[in-house]
Symmetry: C2
Subunit: 572 residues, 2 copies
C-alpha cells in the first residue's frame, strides 16, 4: 500500500482526514448507483485575503503527494508498523461509536472505523467499493504553484468518479487553503520588506498544530522568505534552515563554568591554539574603555555563553544581545568575543535583538560597530548583520524596512504562520459538472452562487507584458487569441465589454491524469522564483497592499449565457 | 525504534520539528561540557487569550506521546518504511545545504541532516551523543488537561539533562500552545451557547495545516464541544463524529436520475417494501397544498438528492435546505421526504441551514414544522432538530443561543479552529534552574522577565469551593495549609497581603518520571468533564468573557525575595 511507504504523506494528510459528510454522501451516491458518474469539482476562493487584490496559489505538491498515496487502510493492512501496546499510555484508548474489535491499543483501520460510524445494515458491497478506491481515476488541472490567483478562478479542477472526487474535498481544501494563505502572507511581507532584507520564518512554536508549522515554513519560503528556523522543513522540503541561540542558552551560564577546552586554533588553521576565554577578558577591558563602561558592567554569564557558542561555532558566531542589558552587557560582551575571534581571523556573522525598539537599537548598534571597527581596525565589524525579531507584523516590518534602517535580517513568527489579519483563505470546492452536465449552486445568497460547467481559464496580457484580466470560459470554447478582440462579461458588471489582449496565457495546467503525474512538479525553489516573477508582472495598482485596485475576472459570453440559462431555469 | 511503531506520533511531532537554534545550542552545551547539567524549564503563557481571564490547559497527551517516541533517526534506521522512488514526483527532491548522500528520493535521516547543517568539522562524538538521546532522563510535571490555567503558572515543568530538555522546547510549545488555545476557545463558545445546544466543530477545511485540523477537533471536544466532522479525530482520538450532506450532493442530482432500488422496508421491519420516490411525490402534493406552493416550485434535483440520502440513511435522514430556495424548495422537499419516511415509521433527524439569517429562518421553520405536524398528525416533526452553520463567531453564537431560539445544533468552523480573535496563545518555555541554581531572564522589557527557580504551584479556595487565587512558591517550601494564614505577593503589586484559604490544591502533577509514565492519563472524555467542572468553580466575575475580573496569581515570600535578590545582583 502506498501510504505506508511515504512518511511525509502520513504526516500531511490521510484519507480519513475528511469530514464525515463526505463519507455519508459517498454512501448516498453509491446507493443511488452514481458512484462512477463522471464529475468535476473546482477549488477556488471568493475573496482575496488580507484586503489585497491577489493571492498566490500553493499546496499543489502536497495534493499530488496525498493523491498518489490515497488508499483506505483495511483490516488486513496494518498501520505502517504495529504500534507497541506500551506506547499508548493506559486510560486513553481511542473510542468510537461502537466498541472496536481491534483492541483498545490501536485505532481501527480506516474501513472498519467507517463501518463503525455508518448504519449497521450498510451493504457490505459499499465497503468493498471503498477498499478498492485509489486515485487512478482522478485528473487534476491546477494553477502552477506560485501563480497569482484571483477570486473565482480555480486553483484546482478535480475530475473523476463522483464518489471519489467528493471524498477528496476536505483534504484538498486543507492542503491548498492554508498553503496559499501562507504563501500570500509571505509575498506581502516580502513586498513590504523589499528585495534586500533577509526574511526568516521563526513561527514554528506559534503554529496551529505541528503540521501547520511544516506547511507554514514550506510555503512562506515559496512566497518569498529566505529561510526558516524549522529543521523539519529543511529535512523534508529543502527549505534553508537558520538558527543560533536563545535566551535560555545565555541564562544557563553564570560565568563560573570552566569550558573543558577553551583553546581555539586560528581560522587559517596555522599558528598556535589560543585560550579564547583569556583572550576575551583582555578584549573586554579595551571594549569597555572604548564604550565608557566598567568591566564589571557586562554580565559574566552572558559572556561565558557567548564564549561557549563561539567555541562551538567560531565561523558562525552570533550574539543575542538582550538577555540582560543590550547597551551595558550584551553589546560589550559580543564585541569582546567578536574582536577576540577577529584576532584569530574569524568574522562574527551577526547579532540579534528580541525586545525593545528594534529600529532605534539597530541604528545605535550600527553606530557603535562603526566606531569600534575604526578604533580597533577591524573593518569587517562595521557591516556585521543585525537581526531582529519580536512580534513583527506588517506595520512594524514597514518601519524596520524604511530607508536608512540598519536592520539586515528580520525574523517573523506569529504573524507569518497564523496570518492574524485573516487566518483562513476560505477556499471552497464546488461541483461544476456531473455526467457532462453543468451544475450550479443557486442559493438565495448571491455570494454563494457558483459558476457552472467544466471550464478553461486564461490570463490576458497587455503589450508590455502586464496583466489585464483573467477570463473563465467553457472548456469546449476555443481559447482567446492574441491580438483578437474578445467580448467578455466582467464579474459583477451588468454589461459586456471588448478586450484585445496582446498575449494570452492558459492558466490551468494538466498535472495528474487518471492518477498519473503528467510532468514533474517544479522544485520548491523554482516555484519560489516563479512567484516573484508573477508578482513583478502585476501592476503597482494591483500589487499595492492597502486599498489596491481590484483585478478583474471576466466570463466569456457562452459561460455568461449558461449562468443566465441555469438561473432562469431554476427561478420559480 | 519507538517512533516507527506509532503512526500518531509520526503525524503529531517528530524530534526535528524544532527550531535550528535548539540544535546549535545543543552543540554549544555539548562543547561546553554541559550536556548533562540538570536543568528545569517551565512552559507558561503571559496573558490569557481572547481578552478573558482564564485558559484551559491542554496538549499534555500529545506531549507524552511525543516524549515516549523521542529518538533521532540514524542512517541505519530507515523511515518507518522505505519510501518507494515512484512516490516522490520527479523534480521535487528535498534539498539541503549540502548534497545529500541519501539520494534525491528520500530525505536524509535525522542525524545526517543535522550533520549537513552544522559546521563540517563538528566533533563526531556530538552526533554519537545525539544518536543515544531518548526521553529516559526527562521528568514532566503538568496541570492535568482541562485545568484552568492562568498567566505565569506553568502548564508544564520539564526537567532533565540540559541539552535534551532544551531540544524539546519547540515541539512541546507546538503541542501545548495551540491545544490550549483551541480548548479555551471551545470553552468560551460553550459558555456562550449554554449547556443545551449541541456544538459541533466543522473547521477541518479551514485549519492551518492538516494536523492543525486534528488538534483542533481533539481539543475543541476537550473544551466542551459535542463532536466534530473530522473523521480522523474519531478514528485516532475517539471524538464523536457527525455529518450528513453538502450542497454538492444536492446539486449533483437533476431529478432525472432513476434510483436503482427505490424500495424501502418499514422501520419496524414488517410489512411490504414501498417505492419511496412515488411515496414522496404523493406527499409533495399534500405538503405544497399545505404551504401554499405549486408542486412545480420545489427543485426536482434537490428532492431526488433527499430521496437518495433517505434511501441510504432512512433512520438518519437530514435535509440541507438552502441549495436553491429554503422556503419554496428545500423545506417542502424535506417535508415530503420526512413525511413519506414517517409513514414507514422513520423519524427524520434534522435540517441544516448554511446561509441567510439563521435565527430568523429557524423560527419560521419551527413554526412550519408545528403546523405541518398538526396538519398531518406527525407530532415528532415538531421537534426535529434545526442545525445551522455559516461563519458563526462568538457574537453570532450569542444571538443563536438567545432565549427562545429554535436553533438546536450549531456547527462552527473557521472561528473554532483558527481562533481569529487571537490565533496564538504565545506560550514560552523558560529556563528556571540549572545545576540546582535558579535562573532568570532579566531583560530590560519587564514583561519578558521570568520567575526563577524550581517551583511548586497551589490553588487556594474559599470555604464555598470557589477559586481565590494561585500561589507560586519555591519547590523546597512547605505547601500552604488550609485554614492557615499565608503572606503572599500578588504579581504586579508593590505590597504583600495575607490570605487564609479554606482549601489548598496542588496544581502540578507528576506525569513522567525519568521517561516513564507514572500514572494513566485521563481519557479525552474524562478531561472534557474535568474542564467543565473546573469552569463551574470559577466565579462569575472571572468566567465573564468580556472585561472579566482578573484572576490573581501570587508569589510566596521566599520566591518574591529570590526575584529581588537576582534582580539586585544583576543591576549594574
Amino acid at each position: 500500500m502506498a501510504a505506508k511507504q511515504d512518511p511525509e504523506a502520513l504526516a500531511a494528510a490521510r484519507p480519513l482526514l475528511t469530514d464525515l459528510y463526505q463519507v455519508t454522501m459517498a454512501l448516498g451516491y453509491w446507493r443511488a448507483g452514481r458512484a462512477h458518474d463522471p464529475a468535476e469539482f473546482e477549488l477556488f476562493f471568493r475573496q482575496c485575503p488580507f484586503g489585497g487584490s491577489f493571492a498566490l496559489a500553493a499546496g499543489l505538491r502536497d495534493c499530488v503527494r496525498f493523491l498518489r498515496a490515497f488508499r483506505l487502510r483495511d483490516a488486513g493492512t496494518p498501520w505502517p508498523a504495529r504500534r507497541s501496546p506500551s506506547l499508548r499510555p493506559g486510560g486513553s484508548p481511542p473510542r468510537c461509536s461502537r466498541p472496536s474489535p481491534h483492541g483498545p491499543l490501536s485505532p481501527p483501520p480506516d474501513v472498519q472505523f467507517l463501518a463503525s460510524v455508518l448504519p449497521p445494515d450498510t451493504d457490505p458491497a459499499f465497503f468493498q467499493h471503498l477498499r478498492a478506491l485509489d486515485s487512478s481515476g482522478v485528473t487534476v488541472r491546477a494553477l502552477p504553484e506560485g501563480s497569482l490567483a484571483f477570486p473565482g478562478v480555480p486553483l484546482l479542477q478535480v475530475s473523476g468518479p463522483l464518489l471519489l472526487v467528493q471524498l477528496l474535498e476536505t483534504p484538498l481544501l486543507c492542503l491548498v487553503s492554508y498553503a496559499s494563505l501562507v504563501a500570500t502572507n509571505a509575498a506581502r511581507l516580502r513586498l513590504i520588506a523589499g528585495p534586500e532584507k533577509r526574511l526568516l520564518d521563526l513561527g514554528l512554536r506559534r503554529a496551529q498544530g505541528p503540521d501547520g508549522g511544516l506547511t507554514a515554513s514550506t510555503y512562506s519560503y515559496l512566497g518569498g522568505f529566505d529561510g526558516s528556523s524549522n529543521v523539519l522543513a529543511g529535512q523534508l522540503r529543502g527549505v534553508p534552515v537558520v538558527g543560533t541561540l536563545a535566551h535560555s542558552f545565555v541564562t544557563s551560564f553564570s560565568g563560573t563554568e570552566v569550558p573543558p577546552d577553551p583553546m581555539l586554533a586560528p581560522a587559517a588553521g596555522q599558528g598556535p591554539r589560543v585560550d579564547l576565554t583569556t583572550c576575551v577578558e583582555a578584549w573586554l577591558e579595551r571594549v569597555c574603555a572604548h564604550l565608557g563602561l566598567g568591566v564589571q558592567d557586562p554580565h559574566p554569564g552572558e559572556r561565558a555563553a557567548f564564549v561557549a557558542y563561539a567555541l562551538a561555532f567560531p565561523r558562525a558566531f552570533q550574539g543575542l544581545l538582550d538577555t540582560y542589558s543590550v547597551r551595558r552587557s550584551g553589546l560589550p560582551n559580543f564585541l569582546a568575543v567578536a574582536l577576540a575571534l577577529g584576532e584569530l581571523g574569524y568574522q562574527a556573522v551577526g547579532v540579534r535583538l528580541d525586545s525593545g525598539d528594534l529600529l532605534q537599537q539597530a541604528q545605535e548598534i550600527r553606530g557603535l560597530f562603526r566606531t569600534t571597527a575604526a578604533q580597533f581596525q577591524m573593518p569587517w565589524l562595521e557591516s556585521v548583520p543585525i537581526a531582529v525579531s519580536n512580534n513583527i507584523d506588517e506595520e512594524e516590518l514597514a518601519r524596520l524596512a524604511q530607508e536608512g534602517s540598519e536592520v539586515n535580517v528580520i525574523g517573523i513568527g506569529t504573524s507569518m504562520v497564523t496570518c492574524p489579519r485573516q487566518p483562513s483563505l476560505g477556499c471552497v470546492y464546488k461541483l461544476v459538472s456531473v455526467g457532462g452536465q453543468p451544475r450550479m449552486k443557486l442559493t438565495e445568497d448571491p455570494d454563494k452562487q457558483t459558476l457552472p460547467g467544466s471550464k478553461a481559464a486564461f490570463r490576458l496580457l497587455g503589450s508590455d507584458g502586464s496583466l489585464l484580466l483573467d477570463v473563465l470560459q467553457l472548456a469546449e470554447e476555443p481559447p482567446p487569441q492574441a491580438g483578437q478582440e474578445l467580448r467578455i462579461w466582467p464579474r459583477g458588471a451588468r454589461e459586456s465589454c471588448l478586450v484585445r489582449p496582446a498575449q494570452v496565457e492558459p492558466l490551468l495546467h494538466l498535472w495528474v491524469q487518471q492518477g498519473q503525474l503528467c510532468k514533474p512538479l517544479p522544485s520548491l525553489a523554482e516555484s519560489r522564483a516563479f512567484a516573484q516573477l508573477s508578482l513583478s508582472r502585476l501592476s503597482p495598482a494591483h500589487r499595492r497592499l492597502e486599498q489596491p485596485a481590484l483585478y478583474q475576472v471576466a466570463l466569456s459570453e457562452k459561460l455568461q449565457a449558461l449562468v443566465h440559462r441555469l438561473r432562469a431555469g431554476a427561478s420559480l
